[in-house]
Amino acid sequence: MAAAKTRSSSFSGNLSSAASSLGPGLKCGPNGTVLLSSGIPDLDKILGGGFPLGSLVMVMEDAEAPHHMLLLRNFMSQGLVHSQPLLYASPARDPRGFLGTLPSPAASKDDKSRGPEPDQEKGLRIAWQYKKYFGENQLNFDGQRDGKHKYSNEFNLRNPLERHFINGQRVDCFSIQDSPDLSILQDRCTTFLSQLPRNDGSISCAGRIAIQSFCAPQCVYSNMEWEMLSFIRSLKNMVQSSNSVAIITFPPSLLSPSFCKRWQHMADTLLSVKAIQDDDKELAQLLTGYQDMIGFLNVHKVARINTQVPVILEATTFSIKLQKRRYLILECLNQAPVDGSSGTSYGTSGSCSSSSKTGNLDF
């Protein structure tokens, strides 16, 4: 009779076959995974280090704002800076043109400062709404930050990426607008991923796939619901057995609710972006720093590879801001102080988990 030997420790140190040497832009993550950066350092911190290789990231777009493009641009730029092969598919006629809008890494002297230095705070009483500037310790798997090969870069959205990053790289662009079905895209993905097989050795190179607005109505195949789902499933399978990360953005309002849920279940990491109305007086009263926000980012699901434990974040909604109009940052939401005379109590300055019902002002 086999006796079950339950180990009390939750960490099994079976890293014997783990990558002994990792290429640029890669670092070890939990449970034997290898991570690459999303191109947005704040997002990496939120997700526990980055996107794991072999995972599928899906981003639900908001028809009213192109914030998903910000995520895509940073994702693609980060890959190019690290010389990671890239496959980009979009419904535009000339997807290559999009490469011209990719941001360049910020020079180190441009590095933004995040508020007053902690040293200056000795002897000062900091009002609670500024506490957010001082090290909220989130899960942090900080890799080394030396020299040229930083794991993740800040990207300056006002400077375009230098040409040499794009030329002479394995960059494949593909327009999905006119494809009658998905077989061509499937073949392109298969070819791309065949260069990046996963084996137990070291990982010299990881690849990135970015598919934008996958079910956009101008695409011929966009009413073939089961075919699109099959494609996503097969892409996910191919990515799982290769050293790559695929990101797919899609407008959820264009799918039937049932299929939208199916797509959401497919994702390992699920994000959504939301537009912010200019001049929403209610929100302005509710949140601090409202004027600087350009949108919200919601984290619905975080990849759980090689583990059954779900990742529960302290906060799932973040505001998207452009610092100095160049750097994309994500911040926790903070409630504005309530007018004491009204008698209602303060909310906490921390962030709130989202409930299962999404409302208009759902944080």
Partner: protein
């Protein structure tokens, strides 16, 4: 007697007593989960219970969702080495990640997808030694992906499940399936789910709390056990090596 802590989930399923025959023998267990709360941990838990039952228990795992390496790592943290179980003939892993029935075929013709899969299962069970034939658990992860593989024909998936149901009566197997409830919550989509719920002897729903997710309580389980005419509801927290179940307001049993 194995030294293991049984919990509310085991109680609700009748697994807390080390009784013969195994309470799940010949039964269909349907697990329904949502995007916010994944129910795959229950599959891992039941697989663990099935393996620890006695040495003649065999598990057949039909995987549409994750590759073998994922389950291997997860079960390793719970004290089970799936590679050695596979080598000893106690664990069969059918990797269905790449199964895609050609369009138009949809598993009807012999040799097409789902029929072939059923044939393979039947053959595997028939090839087992007599004693093990009576102690087989078939686990499917998950049904919504089986539908995708069948190009959306839920009828063929249901047919396949009915075929597997015959195995529960012919060989006394247990059939454990996972599906996603929130996919079918629209009106015209609910037939498949209802059929599955009708087929099941035990229905386990994995849902988030009404107030959202929390670090200490990952969600709630509702177990309806038709055989014992019993329904239970409790909260759970998933850990690397087990799942903790407790009544609302308490942190442990």
């Amino acid at each position: 007697m194995n030294q293991r802590s049984s919990n509310l989930l085991d109680e609700a399923l009748g697994l807390d007593q080390a009784s013969e025959p195994w309470p799940l023998k010949g039964r269909v267990v349907a697990i329904e989960d949502r995007v916010e709360t994944s129910g795959s941990f229950i599959l891992h838990h039941l697989l663990k219970r099935s393996l620890s039952r006695n040495s003649s228990n065999v598990s057949i795992f039909i995987a549409f969702a994750q590759p073998f390496s994922h389950y291997d790592r997860v079960l390793r943290k719970q004290g089970w080495n799936l590679v050695s179980q596979r080598d000893n003939g106690r664990f069969f892993f059918f990797d269905m990640l790449k199964l895609q029935c050609p369009v138009g075929d949809e598993g009807i013709t012999p040799g097409g997808g789902l029929i072939a899969l059923y044939g393979k299962i039947h053959k595997t069970i028939s090839a087992l030694p007599e004693i093990s034939q009576k102690n087989v658990s078939i686990i499917i992860d998950d049904l919504s992906l089986m539908e995708v593989a069948a190009n959306g024909s839920s009828d063929h998936v249901l047919d396949f499940l009915h075929y597997c149901r015959t195995l529960t009566s012919e060989f006394d197997c247990s059939l454990i399936t996972l599906n996603h409830e929130d996919i079918y919550s629209t009106e015209d989509g609910s037939t498949f789910l209802l059929q599955m719920a009708y087929l099941a002897d035990i229905l386990i729903k994995v849902e988030p709390l009404a107030t959202g997710l929390a670090a200490d309580v990952h969600g709630q389980l509702t177990v309806s056990n038709k055989g014992r005419n019993k329904a239970s509801n409790f909260h759970f927290k998933v850990k690397e090596n087990m799942v903790e179940c407790f009544y609302p307001g308490r942190s442990r049993d």
